[in-house]
């Protein structure tokens, strides 16, 4: 089983986010990046599958600050091959561009299964998984919390709202958007990560052009703004009730 896991780093919300001078993007000089939580689950699911059914896990990630550490940690957890996509990723790219850029690299790896996080908090133009599946011409199922693989097919558990779970059979190769791995992402001792830094190698793949077409253009990015629409109604119960009735009548609700 040849498993490819596509991950990316996203802004770490432990730090406060600020908007840059253009007013359309985050101030990136101060950003601290962290692996997208769902991608971390996709990686864990990939490693769990490898442990259950033999195979190889390749992790693919665009080059952003701190990505080497994340890749080495992935190796310490059990990933076999690490690929870093070189290109203009530092200033942030949309999901269309990332999916296009990784599609050719993923294609060359001839995967049986492609896993990625079902979403990321900075996906402004849809999540990467379905876009990647489209560029690869593979089926896609998202919101997956449990996968088994067999000969040329996979059984995946897809989560629906209201606690409903569907089990579906998917022919491979396919792309799955992982909501949660079957076990929480494991801890690896720092000494093992440090060891991986010495023994694992990160393969680099140049991405010449980033094509972000298909995504929206951001015209303004701003922090939540307080509105002045709330009215505090003063007075005793009778007065408040009378005032409420008046308001409801004005709005045509009564």
């Amino acid at each position: 089983m040849n498993i490819v896991v596509l991950i990316k780093l996203v802004p770490d919300l432990v730090e406060e986010l600020t908007i840059d001078d253009s007013g359309t993007d985050l101030e990136r000089d101060w950003l601290r990046l962290i692996i997208n939580e769902f991608d971390d689950h996709a990686l864990e699911q990939g490693i769990l599958l490898k442990e259950q059914s033999e195979g190889q896990v390749t992790v693919v990630a665009p080059d952003t600050e701190g990505v080497d550490d994340v890749l080495y940690a992935a190796a310490a957890r059990g990933a076999d091959k690490l690929i870093k996509l070189l290109g203009e990723f530092e200033q942030g790219v949309n999901s269309h561009a990332l999916a296009r850029a990784s599609a050719s690299v993923v294609q060359d790896l001839q995967p049986d299964l492609v896993l990625t996080g079902v979403q990321a908090h900075n996906d402004l133009d849809g999540s990467v998984g379905p876009l990647l599946a489209e560029f690869l011409g593979m089926p896609y199922v998202g919101y997956i919390s449990g996968v088994t693989v067999g000969d040329k097919k996979s059984i995946a558990r897809k989560e629906y709202p209201g606690g409903l779970i569907a089990e579906m059979e998917i022919s491979l190769p396919a792309v799955l958007g992982i909501q949660a791995a079957e076990e929480p992402p494991r801890y690896v001792a720092i000494s093992k990560v440090r060891q991986a830094m010495k023994t694992a190698t990160i393969e680099e793949q140049e991405i010449i052009e980033l094509d972000s077409s298909g995504g929206p253009t951001i015209s303004r990015m701003f922090l939540p703004e307080a509105t002045e629409r709330a009215t505090m109604i003063e007075g005793d119960e009778e007065e408040v009730a009378a005032k409420l009735v008046e308001i409801f009548q004005e709005l045509g609700l009564l």
Partner: protein, 404 residues
């Protein structure tokens, strides 16, 4: 759980042997050979009665070459590294630093740790503190104080005293109150001091005792680098765990500075401090000896000297005091294993301690470790009759006794 293949992995027949040999390399590790199997360690351990493998039995299994059975159990995660076993061992075996910590290290290397502990370790690695707070905000607690606290990276001048603040004193809202009291004390004593602020990382001693040696070394190196940039005469710290690390562990990594706990530092300046303590505090006060000030480092008198200097205070001792003090439950990773330990034990060590405090009719439970105020205040909410008990850091009591 993932199988971790190495020559020291549990399940390997030579594992007991390799593990035994690794214990002999710990300072005083040779004493292990002289274990009498008296069981005193297991008896004194606050959780020994419910551990499948208390320390004494761990040694017997080790000698019988069946230590992999111990490693299959989760029992070692009940260890709060409180030094109670080490303190009483007639053969002077380094049970806390050797046996218990090494066992946790092996479990951690095999990826076999309680999930609850995992996030504290991940946070420590990523943010330099187990609470998962922004490292840039490490000195935010000192904002808006009457006395401006010098941050070494900003003031760019030598100071007399470098104050290693610690994780909980920096970030935990309850413990920040004690940090602010320390600022006031240093200020009235006219001490020239500074802090590392955002350059300070967790001392990582509790992470080390929870089995994450690599993380400890990584964070110690970062602290060592930060400290080496500045000029100061001495370090003081508000955290006994940081005190233990700086005094006993960092020197092994080549990071060596004179260090004192703030209670030692203040007790030394009692002549100067005493005349300022003019406000009477009419209260019966009992002092909880922190494991890493008391048993691990032998500091028992200075905290009591400070408390006795406060007019009006009547100092009483709990049943367990000084070298027999009870752990608050926060050491050795216990701070991040509350749920796990509750599930196993259905008792909390902090509640046991609070019951002792009220059994001697104490009005105030005085503490000198940042783990304790939040732990004991929570415990007091759960213990019947503890509603009136106040938990106060010694620094807070000293400030209360000064005129505004």
């Amino acid at each position: 759980m993932t199988a971790f293949v190495s020559n020291t992995a549990p399940g390997n027949s030579s594992f007991s042997k390799t593990f035994y040999d690794s214990l002999l390399e710990v300072v005083d590790g040779e004493h292990l050979r002289t274990c009498l199997q008296c069981g005193t360690c297991s008896g004194v351990c606050p959780f020994g009665y419910l551990m499948e493998f208390p320390p004494g039995r761990m040694i017997s299994y080790l000698r019988a070459d069946i230590f992999d059975r111990v490693m299959d159990s989760e029992s070692v995660w009940m260890c709060v590294s409180c030094y109670a076993c080490t303190q009483v061992c007639p053969s002077k075996i380094p049970l806390t630093t050797g046996l218990m910590t090494r066992a946790k290290e092996e479990l951690l290397l095999a990826g076999n740790i309680p999930k609850e502990l995992q996030s504290a370790l991940e946070n420590s690695q990523r943010y330099g503190n187990p609470l998962g707070e922004s490292p840039r905000k490490r000195a935010n607690w000192a904002k808006g104080l009457e006395t401006e606290v010098a941050i070494m990276g900003k003031v760019k001048r030598p100071v007399d005293i470098l104050w290693f603040v610690g994780d909980y004193p920096s970030y935990h809202p309850r413990v920040q109150l004690a940090s602010r009291a320390v600022v006031k004390l240093l200020d009235v004593l006219d001490i020239d001091f500074g802090i590392l602020g955002p350059e300070e990382n967790s001392d990582a001693d509790s992470q080390r005792l929870a089995g994450e040696r690599g993380l400890f070394e990584m964070l110690a190196e970062k602290n060592g680098q930060a400290l080496s940039k500045y000029q100061f005469n001495e370090i003081i710290t508000t955290d006994p765990h940081a005190y233990n690390a700086l005094r006993n562990e960092y020197p092994k990594l080549g990071i060596s500075y004179p260090v004192r706990h703030y209670t030692q530092f203040l007790a030394d300046r009692l002549d100067q401090l005493q005349p300022l303590l003019t406000q009477e505090i009419k209260a019966k006060v009992t002092f909880h000896d922190p494991c890493y000030l008391g048993r691990a480092n032998g500091v028992y008198d200075e905290p009591r000297t400070l408390l006795e200097a406060i007019p009006g205070i009547k100092l009483v001792e709990m049943q367990h005091n000084r070298s027999t003090s009870l752990c608050c439950g926060g050491g050795g990773g216990g701070m991040w294993l509350d749920g796990f330990q509750w599930e196993k034990a259905h008792v909390r060590l902090s509640e046991w301690r609070v019951r002792e405090a009220i059994s001697v009719d104490a009005d105030v439970l005085a503490v000198a470790c940042p783990y304790e105020s939040p732990r004991f205040e929570d415990a007091a909410k759960m213990v019947q009759g503890a509603g009136q008990l106040r938990v106060k850091d010694i620094a807070e009591l000293l400030v209360d006794a000064m005129e505004d």
